[in-house]
Symmetry: C2
Subunit: 345 residues, 2 copies
DNA sequence: GCCTACAATGGGACCGGTTCCATACGAAGG
DNA sequence: CCTTCGTATGGAACCGGTCCCATTGTAGGC
């Protein structure tokens, strides 16, 4: 507890500077002296004060992580990667969980003012322009994960490509009437990935000469329940879709639920794709887009550490590879319930 | 950035002490002086250094939270409560996510040595005796959530009672052959709650003259998949159980999956209960035990803050109320698929 | 009008490290 | 043997706050 570097110095019969040198493994310390100091440290069970160290070094060895938790299993997975990598690098992780607009505002407004962290990682939350401005002005090294902004380094999945892959897959199976189900864009906690995935779906559909009328593009709060409602509405249309591409596995699960309630068989009557490849997707046999969630957090930390070391960070936008995982929720349309062969994509 | 309390003092034409007094809202400052200081603070956009403050005050305004994340949605929910309450109280949350035995060891061994936090909250992880010893010796105020140890303050659900409630429910419905499915107890990351729930189930069963043979008590790693395996084995016995009480909703989901694969109808052929009342339970129509997860984190923080203020913390063990939530996964045995009425418990 | 008491304030000491400068010392070179 | 240079080392200054003590000023009591 109360034992300081001065106590160690006294016991070892050396100066405080020398103890500091030993502690920080600096050169130019006589081996005998070093041994004496180390012995004294052990003897006194001395542990350096991080706080004093921080004050002196003017850095905190701490990184703040802003993340909207609850909303998404995928955000948790990304956060796991962040925490893991930070721990490995000897940094502490200070968490700010954002679930409401008020909290978001409080965190972003007050946050960059404090000097208590060396860097900032923002997961799955695209900052508003004025938030960006604050961050940039505070000169706090920052990396975004699964979030976008021109001026900040970021690690993102290729959402447009993901949308394309999913759409190509179902269109390749022969579907002509497809729908998209994703997040409502205009909330304080809006996720941008859903919109990008829709963009991918649209481009493929267009190339195939398929229209995506508004009635077949559903957006809403990100939850299973809401997704089920939206899907129920779509599937009750005069000419319902034969395939629904979802912006997340959670939403796809809602669609499966809705299909079940309506007595539709998947994949015979309806094909469904998800996104993220959560454990859930495996259980539900969901065809989905796999992306390296944990890894994205790790990469963000690596880039942040580079920034902290003053190394130029390379391209601002780092895009991670994704892949299509075909399971049992997709098949050719029209009840051709053939045993599904892994289609050569 | 570089602006210090000295700069403010100079601009306001006062001493550093006075600025400090204003900052900390202490009495005995002339209103006019206060106004002048506040103006200077605004003018310079001064933000006090947390680090310097900490060094001087010898407290960090930070609490460490140790939590095994991934393993359990319920742990995340508890953590949400912890983070929420800490933020409200102006404390920072330092997270240590534990997923492996190595990491656990590293965190617990090295942790109490550091002076960097004022308190510690451990979620869903019962410390080993020697870990406890370290914690106690380090005199770090600590509160456990969903974890047990005689000598540490803790907030727990009444797991034994939960087990009883679930067992009483299915036995009350007429089941005589019931099984329990929970966590494997002997791992580095063992959760104790599963064992306690089993204790509750056992006591009720015994009182009703029902035996729980080893073949009907399955334990394993906490996952849907593993639960499905264990359930498949039980349900393939010569005389299979008619009801399975699970230690978590996740495991109950695995049981439902297994039942489905085996062509068993729930609840006609098999009753299943979960634990935690996750969102999942609602979707699956799972009868389960509800417990205040988020609230448990909040309470733990309240108690920790009291400890930090030096207020006697009251009884070490705080038990939270739980309740049975009846949904569609339980019914009388033997295919009497009557429309289920909410049984007066 | 003088003494006392208390409110307001300035500023030094301190929290516990790191850094840097000055010094001491020993070895190598002439 | 003396100079020179580099290594090892002690310790003051500093990081930016808080706290406490000494000092000043003024209102109230006599």
């Amino acid at each position: 507890m109360g034992v300081t570097i001065g106590d160690v110095a006294r016991l070892a019969g050396v100066g405080r500077g020398t103890v500091s040198r030993v502690l920080n493994d600096r050169a130019n310390v006589d081996p005998a002296t070093r041994a004496r100091v180390l012995a004294a440290i052990k003897e006194l069970d001395f542990v350096p004060s991080q706080t004093a160290r921080r004050l002196s070094l003017r850095r905190t060895q701490t990184v703040a992580v802003i993340v909207p938790f609850l909303s998404r299993p995928s955000a948790i997975e990304r956060f796991r990667g962040v925490e893991h990598a930070l721990a490995a690098a000897g940094y502490d992780a200070l968490v700010f969980n954002i679930e409401t607009a008020e909290r978001r505002e409080a965190v972003f407004l007050e946050f960059p003012r404090r000097e208590r962290v060396d860097g900032l990682i923002i997961v799955s939350l695209s900052p508003h322009p004025f938030e960006i401005e604050r961050i940039v002005r505070s000169r706090l090294p920052t990396v975004l994960v699964d979030a976008h902004h021109r001026s900040l380094p970021r690690v993102v999945g290729n959402d447009v490509m993901g949308g394309r892959l999913a759409a190509q897959h179902v269109i390749g199976l022969g579907h002509r009437r497809l729908a998209f189900l994703g997040d409502y864009a205009r909330t304080a906690l809006a996720f941008t990935s859903s919109r990008l995935r829709l963009t991918g779906v649209r481009s493929v559909a267009k190339a195939a000469g398929i229209r995506l009328p508004p009635s077949l593009v559903g957006t809403g709060e990100h939850s299973r329940r809401r997704a089920a409602e939206l899907a129920t509405r779509m599937l009750s249309l005069p000419v319902p879709p034969t395939a629904i591409v979802c912006a997340s596995d959670t939403q796809a699960a809602g669609v499966l639920e809705a299909a079940d309630h309506l007595g539709l068989r998947v994949p015979a009557d309806l094909s469904v794709t998800g996104y993220d490849d959560l454990e859930l997707a495996d259980h539900l046999g969901l065809t989905t887009i796999h992306q390296p969630l944990f890894e994205s957090g790790v990469r963000a930390v690596e880039r942040l550490l580079r920034l902290l070391d003053g190394v130029p960070a390379g391209p601002l936008r780092e895009v991670q590879d994704i892949s299509l995982v075909v399971r049992r929720s997709t098949a050719p349309p029209g009840g051709l319930a053939l045993k599904q062969e892994p289609a050569a994509s």
